[in-house]
C-alpha cells in the first residue's frame, strides 16, 4: 500500500532536520566565507544580470531591481534544490547500503534543505527592498502560500529526478541544460507582457515560470493573481508531486543494488 506522501515521515522529522542542516554545513565546509555563501551566491548572480541588463537596454519598468531579484532568488532555489534532489539517493548510497532507511527520506531532505535556504533568501529579498527604495503592498501576505506551492514543486521534481538518476545517468547532464534553459524560458529578466509566441506558450505550461510570475504580482506589482492562475498552477504542481511520488514508490524497490 502506498501511503500519502510525507505522513509516514512525520516521526522522522528530527532526522530530516538534522540531515538538512548538515547538508548546508557540508556544502560550504572548508570555504573561507562558509555559510555566507548561501546568500552570496544568488546576490552575485543577481548583480551580474542586473549590470548586464541595465547596460544593454533601458530599464523597462519601474522596480526592475526588485523584479529581477525576486526571479533570481526563486531560480537559484529551484536550481539548487533540484540538483541536490537529483543526486540525493546516489550521494547517500553508502548510508542506503548500511541501514534500512526509507529511501523517500533523501529527496525529502533535499527539499527541506531548500526550505532552509528559502528562509535565508526571503530574508535577502526583504533586506534589499530598502536598497531599491521599495515598499511592498499588503498582497505580499500571500507569499507563504506561494512558497509552499514552490516547495511542493521542488519535492515533486526531487522524487522524479532522484529515482530516475539511479537508473539513467543521462538525467544529470540533461537536467543541467534544462535548468540553464529555464533561466531564459521563465520571466526572470523579461516581462510576460513583452513576449509572445513560443516563449509565452512555454510560460503557460511551465509551473516554475508560473510561480515566478505570481511572485512578481504579489511582491512587485501588489496584485492578487487571478483565481484561474492559482488553480492551474496548483493542479500542475500537485500533478507533478503525485506522479513523482508514485514513480518513486514503484521504482524504489531494488535501487540499493543498483547504487
Amino acid at each position: 500500500m502506498i501511503k500519502f506522501p510525507l505522513i509516514e515521515l512525520l516521526d522522522k522529522r528530527s532526522l530530516i532536520l538534522h540531515f538538512s542542516w548538515m547538508n548546508i554545513k557540508l556544502r560550504f565546509k572548508g570555504s573561507y566565507l562558509g555559510l555566507i555563501w548561501t546568500g552570496l551566491e544568488p546576490l552575485l548572480m543577481f548583480l551580474i544580470l542586473f549590470v548586464v541588463f541595465t547596460s544593454i537596454r533601458e530599464i523597462p519598468k519601474e522596480n526592475f531591481g526588485i523584479y529581477l531579484i525576486t526571479g533570481v532568488l526563486f531560480y537559484h532555489l529551484f536550481s539548487r534544490g533540484t540538483s541536490a534532489g537529483l543526486g540525493s539517493l546516489k550521494e547517500n548510497s553508502s548510508l542506503l547500503k548500511s541501514f534500512q532507511i526509507k529511501k523517500e527520506l533523501f529527496p525529502v531532505i533535499a527539499t527541506t534543505t531548500t526550505c532552509i535556504l528559502l528562509f535565508v533568501e526571503v530574508g535577502i529579498l526583504f533586506g534589499l527592498m530598502p536598497v531599491f527604495d521599495f515598499t511592498p503592498g499588503w498582497n505580499i501576505l500571500l507569499l507563504p502560500v506561494l512558497l509552499i506551492l514552490f516547495l511542493l514543486l521542488v519535492l515533486g521534481m526531487n522524487y522524479i529526478l532522484s529515482i530516475l538518476y539511479v537508473y539513467v545517468k543521462d538525467v544529470k547532464p540533461f537536467w543541467t541544460i534544462f535548468i540553464y534553459a529555464l533561466l531564459f524560458l521563465s520571466p526572470i529578466f523579461w516581462y510576460t507582457s513583452e513576449v509572445e509566441g513560443i516563449l509565452l506558450n512555454i510560460q503557460q505550461i511551465n509551473p516554475f515560470g508560473q510561480i515566478v510570475e505570481m511572485a512578481h504580482k504579489i511582491i512587485v506589482f501588489n496584485e492578487i493573481p487571478e483565481l484561474i492562475e492559482w488553480i492551474s498552477t496548483t493542479i500542475i504542481i500537485f500533478g507533478i508531486l503525485f506522479i513523482g511520488f508514485i514513480m518513486f514508490k514503484k521504482l524504489e524497490r531494488n535501487i540499493v543494488e543498483k547504487l
Binding site: S14, F19, K258
Partner: protein, 566 residues
C-alpha cells in the same frame, strides 16, 4: 512464535550482471537473457532468540546478500522475511559514515538512522567513543580514519544502541587484538542477555568459539547448517577441493590462450560419460575435464534436463508410492526417479529411499518457486554461461543419473557424444559390496566388519548380490536399448579392463571419438596419480581375495541366469 528472532522462508535474490554499461563488453558475446546471477537461491532459515549464528563460505557465496536481506536493506525477489525485535546491521566497513564529518557527528547520524532520538544519542556519544578507544580522534574527520578505526567506531555505535538482533559482516576482521578481545566479550555478554547475533567471518577459530550454530553457504544456497565442528570440517573439505579445481582451471586457461579462437559461442557436441556406477566413470571424467577444450560443471545442473511435465509426473507417482508405503519397483520410470536422486540406483538398499526423499523435497521446492515466479531457468542459458565463463565451446559431464536419462539428453543435445564405460559385473558388484566410505578403494576386511558380510557363507550375501545384479542388468539393458538407435559417431563403448590395461592408447582412441585434439604431452590430462591408481587397480584384480568374491558373485549370477556373457 515469540522465541523466533529471524525467519526466512524460500527467499531468493537475483542480480543483474550487466547493471552498468562497462560490463556489457563482456556479456555482448552471449547476447542472451541469462545475465542474471542467483545470489540467494531459495533460502529458508529460522533463528531463535538468543542464538549466535556464524555464517561461513567462500567469497561470493551469498553471505553479505543474506545479511542485507535480513536487515531489510535489500528486498528479496521472492519469499518472506520476518524479523522480531529491533535490529542493528554492521555491514561493510566504512559505509554508513560521512567522510567529511567527524566521529561525533557521524555517531549522531548513525544513531538517527538506527531510529534513536538526538538526545538519546548525545548522551551515549562519550561511551561510544570511549569503547572504540577513539578519544583522541573525536574531532578528526572520518576520511582521515584508518579502516580499523572506522570499524571500531561502527561496532561501538551499534552495540551502544543495544539492539535485540545484531548483524555483523566481517567487521571485526580489521580491529587490533585488544579491540577484538573486547568485542568478543561484548558478544558473550549479548549472548547472556539472550540477544541474537548473526555474523559472517572467515576466521574459523572465532566461529567455533562463539557460535551456537554455523551456516555454510555456497553459490547462494545453504550447504550445511549445524554444530560448528561438523560444518567447519565440511567447509575445510570444500576449500581443499576448490583449490584443486581452480588450479586445474588455471592450467587449462593457460593452455587455452594459444590459438583457440571461437567465433560461434554455442554448445557443440557435448560429451556425456555414462555407465553403471563403479565402472570407472569418475576416472574418465577426471581425465576429460583436464582437456583444454572441455568445460567442466557440476552434475547438479543437469537436473534441469528433464522436461518439466515429466518431472511432475514422476514426482506425483513417487510421492504417491511413498505415501502408500509401496515398494518402488525397478521399472524404467522408477529408474528415472532414482536416477534423479543423488544416490545411485545401484548403491545399497537402505540409502536410496532416504536420500531420495530428502532430495525430492528440495527438488520440489526448487521447481515450485521457479514455476510460481514464472521464471523458468533455461538449461541452455546455464550451460552457455558456464561455457562463457570457462571460455569453452564444449563440455563433458558425468553423473550416475545420466545413464538412466540418456533419451532425454539425446533430445536436448542431438549432437551429444556418449561414452559408455562397461565393466565386468563381478568387479562392479564386488566393488559395491566392499567399497569403503572413502570412494574408490575397496577393503574386504572393512566390509566384513562394517557391512556384516560373510564371504565364507555365500547364502547370506546372496540377496544383496542379487539386488545389485538386478540393478546392473536394468541399467545395462537401458543403455543397450539406447545404443541400438545410435551410430558409431555418437556412441562408444569402452571396456574398463581394456582401458586400464593400456590407458594411453585407449585415451587417444577416446579423444579421437570425441573429435578432440590429443594434448602434447598426453600426461596433461593423465595425471601421474591416475596412472598409479590404475596400476593399483590392476594389481588388486589379481589378488586372491578378490577372486574369492568374484567366485561368489559369479555363483549367484549363474543361479539367476544372468544374461550377460562375461
Amino acid at each position: 512464535m515469540n522465541s523466533i528472532a529471524i525467519k526466512l522462508s524460500n527467499v531468493s535474490k537475483k542480480f543483474d550482471l550487466n547493471k552498468n554499461k562497462n560490463m556489457s563488453k563482456r556479456s555482448h558475446k552471449t547476447n542472451k537473457p541469462s545475465n542474471q546471477i542467483l545470489a540467494l537461491d531459495n533460502i529458508s532459515l529460522t533463528i531463535e532468540k538468543g542464538e549466535t549464528i556464524g555464517i561461513i563460505g567462500l567469497n561470493g557465496s551469498g553471505k553479505t546478500t543474506l545479511l542485507r536481506i535480513i536487515s531489510g536493506i535489500y528486498q528479496s525477489d521472492s519469499g518472506s522475511v520476518l524479523i522480531n525485535g529491533n535490529l542493528a546491521p554492521l555491514l561493510q566497513i566504512g559505509t554508513g559514515f560521512k567522510k567529511e564529518l567527524d566521529a561525533e557527528e557521524n555517531i549522531i547520524i548513525n544513531g538517527l538512522l538506527l531510529g534513536f532520538s538526538k538526545n538519546e544519542i548525545k548522551r551515549k556519544i562519550d561511551d561510544i567513543i570511549k569503547f572504540a578507544e577513539l578519544e583522541r580522534f573525536r574531532k578528526l574527520k572520518l576520511k582521515d580514519y584508518s579502516t580499523g578505526m572506522r570499524s571500531r567506531l561502527a561496532f561501538s555505535t551499534a552495540i551502544q544502541i543495544n539492539p535485540d538482533i545484531l548483524l555483523v559482516d566481517e567487521i571485526l576482521a580489521v580491529g587490533d587484538a585488544v579491540f577484538k578481545e573486547k568485542s568478543f566479550e561484548i558478544f558473550l555478554n549479548f549472548k547472556k542477555q539472550k540477544k541474537t547475533i548473526v555474523y559472517t567471518t572467515h576466521s574459523i577459530n572465532m566461529i567455533s568459539d562463539l557460535s551456537d550454530r554455523v551456516i555454510l553457504m555456497d553459490q547462494g544456497r545453504i550447504l550445511k547448517i549445524g554444530k560448528p565442528s561438523d560444518v567447519i570440517s565440511y567447509y575445510k573439505e570444500i576449500i581443499k577441493t576448490h583449490k584443486t579445481k581452480s588450479f586445474k582451471q588455471d592450467n587449462v586457461r593457460s593452455i587455452n590462450k594459444e590459438g583457440t579462437n571461437y567465433s560461434d559461442k554455442s554448445i557443440k557436441k557435448p560429451i556425456f560419460i555414462i555407465g553403471v556406477p563403479r565402472s570407472g566413470t569418475t576416472m574418465l571424467n577426471i581425465m576429460m575435464c583436464l582437456h583444454p577444450e572441455l568445460a567442466w560443471f557440476s552434475h547438479e545442473d543437469l537436473k534441469l534436463l528433464i522436461p518439466l511435465d515429466k518431472q511432475k509426473k514422476f514426482r506425483e507417482k513417487f510421492l504417491r508410492m511413498k505415501e502408500n508405503n509401496e515398494k518402488i519397483p525397478r521399472t524404467e520410470d522408477s529408474l528415472f526417479v532414482f536416477g534423479l536422486d543423488q544416490a545411485r540406483p545401484l548403491d545399497g538398499t537402505s540409502k536410496v529411499p532416504i536420500e531420495a526423499e530428502s532430495f525430492w523435497r528440495r527438488y520440489i521446492q526448487f521447481y515450485e518457486s521457479e514455476i510460481s515466479s514464472n521464471k523458468k531457468r533455461d538449461l541452455k542459458n546455464i550451460l552457455d554461461k558456464i561455457l562463457t565463463t570457462q571460455n569453452k565451446l564444449r563440455f563433458v559431464n558425468k553423473a550416475p543419473q545420466n545413464t538412466v536419462r540418456i533419451f532425454a539428453i539425446k533430445q536436448i543435445f542431438p549432437d551429444a557424444k556418449f561414452i559408455n564405460i562397461a565393466r565386468d559385473p563381478r568387479s562392479v558388484i564386488s566393488s559395491m559390496l566392499t567399497r569403503t566410505k572413502n570412494e574408490g578403494e575397496f577393503n574386504i576386511d572393512w566390509a566384513i566388519k562394517e557391512k556384516k558380510l560373510n564371504f565364507h557363507n555365500s547364502k547370506k550375501n546372496n540377496e544383496l548380490i542379487k539386488y545389485y545384479a538386478q540393478g546392473y542388468k536394468d541399467i545395462t539393458n537401458y543403455t543397450l536399448e539406447f545404443s541400438k538407435q545410435q551410430n558409431s559417431e555418437n556412441f562408444m563403448t569402452i571396456i574398463y579392463e581394456d582401458f586400464i590395461s593400456n590407458p594411453e592408447k585407449n585415451l587417444k582412441k577416446l579423444l579421437d571419438f570425441c573429435e578432440l585434439k590429443v594434448p602434447e604431452p598426453l600426461s596433461q590430462i593423465m595425471p601421474r596419480k591416475m596412472r598409479d591408481t590404475t596400476e593399483k587397480w590392476k594389481m588388486e584384480l589379481a589378488e586372491d581375495d578378490q577372486h574369492k568374491i568374484f567366485d561368489i558373485v559369479q555363483d549367484s549370477i549363474d543361479k539367476m541366469k544372468y544374461p550377460f556373457k562375461l
